[in-house]
């Protein structure tokens, strides 16, 4: 009896174990081996041999009040695919498609796809709206599949498109960030396809560790940028106007907080609509503000001046004798108008933009000191969070010929990127210290935590006194010189400098009729909230930057004062004041 009972018990236990093992094996195959396929199937709600739905983190603009506005997000809709092997009546299918989404595909293209009888899946129409997709689904056409689709959407279209970047297929078959922030923060923005379909069994079998520590949730998230959409729109509009008015080759601008390095707006023209890349010239996909180097011309003079003041080789009261033209190493360098000024103080070098004055400071500094200052300013990349950052060309400062230093002092013969230039000039606005320009301020992780990014790297270059003295000279440019003094704002001190550089002629020399115009300014001059850099490359029919970029700069200054309600820093009594705007 006991033996019979034991054998029955063993039989029952063996059966239980067998059933359990069968279930476990079955579960393993369903959830581990074929888990991806089932999750796709569930989400698509239709059978498909395609890959999973596209998923990716968002990129946000930040309004001045802290509201986040999507710069890059996901759109949801449908795609239409056909199975030529079972599509019995292509003409009827095309007619049905046309009634729902007219002109989505040409008749010839549709019929050509339907004629490929060797294939079972051909996608013919993309990015249908939900309503259109459901309407087409309701028609239930044999051989036509209507499948869920998600794609990258840029609500701003061309707004900061070069800096936001694009998502596209690379050498493989996966979508990924290729330019701009999309590429730089790929590790944060990309999504592994199964993140939405975690379930108990799959986790139990394959990712026990993830139940305890969600590594992906600590890495994947959304990027919050410092770009303010309304300021960005204004800058982009101003840059485009200049570009079109003067038929330039390329134009751009950056607005940055000089104290933190937060870039508030960054624009180049020509640009592109990131939602429609079909006919975009690949050359405009890059970001010239970060990747290209230019000889900026006279906006380099404030840096030369500050270096001289910081090194103590002169003071603002020091004078020099300006004779109009000099010869250095057999090369002749002159003031922009070829005229001599006689004995004048340092301030006039900035106010009148005198090349000989800048060359005089370079000579007084000596080659080694000059090289040290400029290598500190431009010798290393800024570390901005954008890909493919270019480096400065400072070869002339490594040679013993003095002409290289003299021309560098007024911005010719050395080439730097616009973002390097605004960082260097930002040191004057920021009490002598360079900060790290950046576009991203925080990462909103999937775990729910917002990780603030720290960009605290500062590089002291000049003393605060030297920076302030140069600021005073640059403020005089706006108050006395720009538009003959009419640009001066009675209630706001604005420091600025124009730059006009000759373009190289491709034969080792410089063209006499082609120029690179630049403009830099910051305000309130002695406690700046904004620094603005503008440039336009090869404008037609105009020689000086003061003619091309002054009005754009002043428009931006007035816009920013109004938009951010920047309080007056001069010309107003403590109680109330009334001024007449220009």
């Amino acid at each position: 009896m006991r033996a019979q009972f034991r054998s029955r018990l063993r039989l029952v236990l063996a059966f239980v174990f067998f059933v359990a093992i069968c279930i476990l094996v079955r579960l393993y195959f369903i959830q581990i081996v074929h888990g991806q396929e089932y999750s796709q199937k569930a989400d698509r709600q239709f059978a498909s041999g395609g890959s999973g739905l596209f998923d990716r983190g968002a990129i946000y603009f930040t309004r001045k009040d802290g509201t986040l506005i999507s710069a890059a997000t996901l759109a949801t809709g449908f795609l239409v695919a056909i199975n030529p092997q079972i599509l019995a009546d292509p003409e009827a299918a095309y007619t049905a498609l046309q009634t729902v989404v007219p002109d989505s595909i040409s008749r010839d293209a549709f019929l050509a796809a339907a004629a490929k009888k060797g294939q079972v899946y051909i996608e013919v129409v993309h990015r249908l709206s939900d309503a259109d997709g459901q309407m087409l689904t309701a028609k239930n056409i044999r051989g036509v599949q209507v499948l869920r689709e998600r794609w990258r959407q840029y609500p701003g279209g061309s707004l900061a498109s070069q800096s936001i970047g694009i998502v596209s297929y690379g050498s493989g078959d996966t979508l990924g960030g290729r330019t701009g922030l999309e590429r730089f923060y790929e590790g944060t923005l990309e999504r592994s396809g199964d993140s939405l379909y975690k379930n108990f069994f799959a986790e139990l079998f394959s990712n026990v560790g993830n139940l305890l520590v969600a590594a992906k949730d600590a890495r994947e998230g959304d990027i919050v940028t410092t770009i303010e959409p309304e300021v960005q729109t204004r800058l982009q509009d101003d840059v485009a106007k200049v570009h079109k008015k003067y038929s330039s080759k390329e134009s751009g601008g950056i607005i940055m907080d000089p104290a933190t390095g937060a870039i508030i707006a960054i624009a180049t023209y020509p640009s592109y609509d990131a939602n429609n890349l079909q006919n975009v010239d690949p050359d405009v996909l890059g970001n010239p503000l970060v990747e290209h180097v230019y000889e900026f011309g006279s906006i380099m003079k404030p840096l030369t001046m500050t270096a001289g003041l910081d090194a103590g080789v002169m003071t603002p009261a020091t004078t020099y004798n300006d004779i109009g033209c000099i010869t250095v190493n057999t090369a002749r360098i002159c003031n922009w108008d070829l005229k001599a000024r006689g004995v004048i103080p340092m301030k006039q070098i900035i106010v009148q933009s005198l090349n000989l004055g800048a060359a005089w400071i370079a000579t007084e500094l000596g080659q080694e000191k000059f090289r040290t200052y400029f290598t500190k300013l431009f010798g290393v990349k800024t570390g901005i969070d954008l890909p493919n950052e270019g480096g400065a060309l400072l070869g002339n400062l490594m040679k013993p010929q003095q002409i290289g230093y003299d021309t560098a002092a007024y911005g010719q013969g050395i080439a730097v990127t616009p973002v390097q230039m605004i960082r260097a000039l930002g040191a004057i606005a920021n009490g002598g210290s360079m900060i790290q320009p950046h576009l991203a301020s925080a990462v909103r992780l999937n775990s729910g935590i917002t990780r603030t990014l720290t960009w605290s790297q500062t590089t002291p270059v000049f003393s605060p006194t030297a920076a302030r003295d140069t600021t005073t000279m640059m403020t005089a440019v706006v108050d006395e010189k720009l538009q003959d003094g009419k640009a001066s704002i009675p209630t706001m001190s604005v420091a600025a400098k124009t730059g006009t550089a000759q373009l190289t002629d491709g034969h080792g020399g410089y063209a006499t009729d082609r120029f690179f115009h630049s403009f830099v300014g910051f305000f309130p001059a002695y406690s700046p909230r904004f620094i603005i850099l503008l440039y336009t490359n090869d404008p037609q029919g105009v020689t000086y930057a003061s003619d091309t970029l002054s009005s754009s700069f002043l428009d931006l200054v007035h816009f920013l004062i109004d938009y951010y309600a920047v309080p007056p820093d001069r010309g107003v009594s403590l109680e109330t004041a009334t001024t007449t705007p220009l």
């Binding site: 029955r8 989400d43 996901l74 204004r234 209630t491 004041a577 009334t578 007449t580």
Partner: protein, 97 residues
């Protein structure tokens, strides 16, 4: 075995049958819960994505309006610059003065 019989009014085999029965029911229940959870997860995730897309549409309209306002020729619309600007001390926006 005799001791078990002495303690319980039913056999060990019956207990095993009972336990197996409970486990099977629990397992089926667990599968049902997991399946329901998976379906809800997919529905919720799709719902979120649809909402995100709808918000993106509104954001696109907002940005288009900003661009439209920026490009507007205010002079052509009949607006003129103010003749004077008066600066006044900012007041606290709270009721606590």
């Amino acid at each position: 075995m005799h001791k078990t019989h002495a303690l319980f009014p039913f056999s060990l085999l019956t207990i095993c049958y009972g336990v197996v029965g409970v486990l099977v029911v629990a397992y089926i229940g667990l599968i049902a819960v997991v399946m329901s959870s998976a379906v809800l997860t997919v529905e919720f995730s799709q719902s979120i994505k649809n909402d995100v897309a709808a918000v993106a549409l509104l954001e696109g309209q907002y940005l288009a309006n900003v661009a439209h306002i920026t490009r507007a020729n205010v002079a052509a619309l009949g607006y003129t610059k103010p003749l004077i600007k008066t600066f006044v001390r900012a007041e606290s926006v709270t009721a606590l003065r």
